[in-house]
């Protein structure tokens, strides 16, 4: 598989070799159950404590505010359901505000809560993919128990103005004289953006390790002290009663080290990716002049190119690219099987005929100019073939 030219780093990243090496002892002799009391178990407990301190330092929070989970989806579910149910049970309200372009982990958690009497408001976004700031004040009301807005979009890479959004939410909450916790799905972007929770202005934040060089099956939930929360995984007392279950020690150790590497190199990562990304984007635009970039050109992740080729079909293009040894995506790995047009693009007013012909290329520092050259060599023919197939009625 080493010869695949990989343009899908937003879907998942390879495990960083140093991270893997740090995990291996916990897949070998250091197998103790951290909840036990003897020396073997305490070694595992100390590894978790150290990982928690590292993550807390990177988030700018207290170690007690860090919860290790099985991934970004679990973190998001725990944040949204855990905060919402805690407030509903305290009769604090039943309204949740989120955006129209969230990942399905957020949107479907909200749909789940609708079954239990919650009402969901979806903030609109502009054609640039940015949440319309003016919509916040009217969306939040005396029943609002939670706001959830993603830091950066997984499909189009648009980065929301988190500090501004946080200020607007806090002002409105203060006006309503209520506590309105603000959660962000920060699963995308930890390679490029700060995850400092005070700078972002959030009360809860979700991370997925495999998006930044860590292992699959591991994630982080930050939960600010004092945030109402009902644990969504009941059982033993692990994670200070907020997430029961024997800890995935290797996964936790790997998560912390991967986040440390990602956060300490994010300036270099951003600069290098941006240069490659710009070369890719201008190459595409030169070769296929009617291609259109989706999402704001400036306020986006440095590794994301999301382009539409009107009149083409993403599935056909992905197949043809795969045959050429190139791995790309139609926008979100999690949607690939359902083959539905992207709710993100539709919310951004992208016409359906363009939405279904959209590809996402996401890169990393491992991407080379020769990878990009190869993609640019293949892509025009792929788009042409797809347009031809789409224009020809099936026999």
């Amino acid at each position: 598989m080493n010869d695949t030219i990989y343009f899908d780093y937003a879907a998942t990243t390879p495990l960083h070799p140093d991270v893997r090496d740090a995990m291996l002892p916990y897949l070998n002799d250091e197998f103790g159950n951290p909840s036990a009391t003897y020396a073997l178990a305490q070694a595992a407990q100390e590894a978790i404590d150290s990982a928690r301190a590292t993550v807390a330092d990177l988030l700018g929070c207290s170690p007690n505010e860090v919860i290790f989970t099985s991934g970004g989806t679990e973190s998001i579910n725990a944040a949204i359901k855990g905060v919402a149910f805690a407030q509903q049970l305290a009769r604090a309200g039943n309204q949740i505000t989120t955006s129209a372009i969230e990942h399905h982990a957020v949107l479907h958690s909200c749909q789940y809560l609708e079954k239990f009497g919650f009402e969901i408001t979806h903030l609109p976004v502009g054609q640039d993919g940015l949440v319309q700031m003016s919509s916040i004040s009217s969306a939040l009301n005396e029943d609002t128990v939670l706001v959830s807005i993603m830091t950066a979009n997984n499909e189009v890479g648009v980065i929301q103005p988190m500090a501004e959004l946080s200020r607007a939410i806090r002002e409105r909450a203060s006006h309503l004289n209520r506590q309105i916790p603000f959660h962000t799905d920060a699963v995308q972007g930890a390679n490029a953006l700060s995850v400092n929770v005070d700078a972002l202005g959030v009360d809860a934040l979700s991370l997925s390790a495999h998006k930044f060089g860590g292992p699959k099956g591991a994630g982080v939930l930050y939960l600010r002290r004092g945030t109402p929360f009902l644990s969504q995984q009941s059982g033993g007392g692990q994670e200070r009663q907020r997430r029961a279950g024997t800890e995935n020690v290797a996964g936790i150790v790997g998560t912390a080290m991967a986040l440390e590497i990602a956060q300490s190199s994010r300036q270099n990562y951003s600069a290098e990716c941006q240069e490659l990304r710009d070369a890719l984007l201008s190459g595409i635009m030169a070769a296929i002049p009617d291609a259109t970039l989706n999402g704001d050109a400036e306020r986006r992740l440095p590794n994301n190119v999301n382009v539409s080729f009107s009149g083409s079909d993403a599935r056909i293009m992905l197949e043809l690219l795969d045959e050429a040894g190139i791995a790309a995506s139609a926008g979100s790995a999690c949607n690939e099987e359902t083959l539905e047009p992207s709710h993100v693009l539709l919310a951004m007013d992208v016409p359906l005929s363009r939405a279904v012909g959209t590809l996402r290329f996401s890169i990393s520092r491992r991407t080379t100019q020769s990878d990009i050259d190869r993609l640019l060599e293949v892509l025009p023919g792929v788009v042409d073939k797809s347009r031809l197939a789409a224009a020809t009625p099936a026999s």
Copy 2:
């Protein structure tokens, strides 16, 4: 840590070396996101498909009935909350029957559901730790939506008569003319007992990989086709909409191989463990004649010795054993930090003074006669010292 004499295999087991080797490719080059469509991703998807087929074969079910999770606690939470909420939303009832000696993952999931209007009935057990069969018929009523009884107890190792329980539940359900799904926490015992779901007579079954030589952070939920279920982790379409989130590919591959090894060697495992276990138990009884074995002497896991030393203190004994390089447990790793007397022993009518002086020794095929000799050399002094300390008022 290799020189620890380990008597806590019920808390966690070392990763089987073959399992680790099978996992490593997915921590190296095979890092694709299974939800994507290209070749790299399909390799990951095929690994998951193959793991699912292996597990289904061992459980005697269809691959579609196997859900991979992040561990035993998640499986149990998903089964109990997922089945209960699905039925509550369908207005089918709000009563759950479980036993008094379940793991906290079950008991606290039920407590969680009490906040949402569920009523919980705890079936009593005898002094032998066996669920009282006669209690089933009166416990189940026209509001019952779920029964959850563990296959084997994590503290005392007592094995419930699953097929008999299943028959009694099905008879009562048929009498009430309703569907009453039967879930079992089978987290303990997959090394020694069959996990065939039809033989057990269950509709849902939870497993934890790290209890049988697999990785931490991975588990299985079996869910019989037609069982009402509301997915507890919302998001992408993974696991046929029943458990969202990017799959922990390495963990899933490891889980399947570990279960295959455990199930294919369970006869040898049982025979070898039982011989060692009997040597340990008779050694303890010879050295400390007033020790008492908790739980039925025959219907118990072959690797479990749970003994009380009246007038002693488990915490002191565990410390002294740890100083001697021996790792044991007071009953449940998940309870160690809370220092509460075991709810299992109290439900079995063990007096408090014996319950607080209880140790669990759990072994495996890796346990040697020399490990047992060393424990038997140390234990009498440990019990004496603890009794002395407990009898001496603190100065």
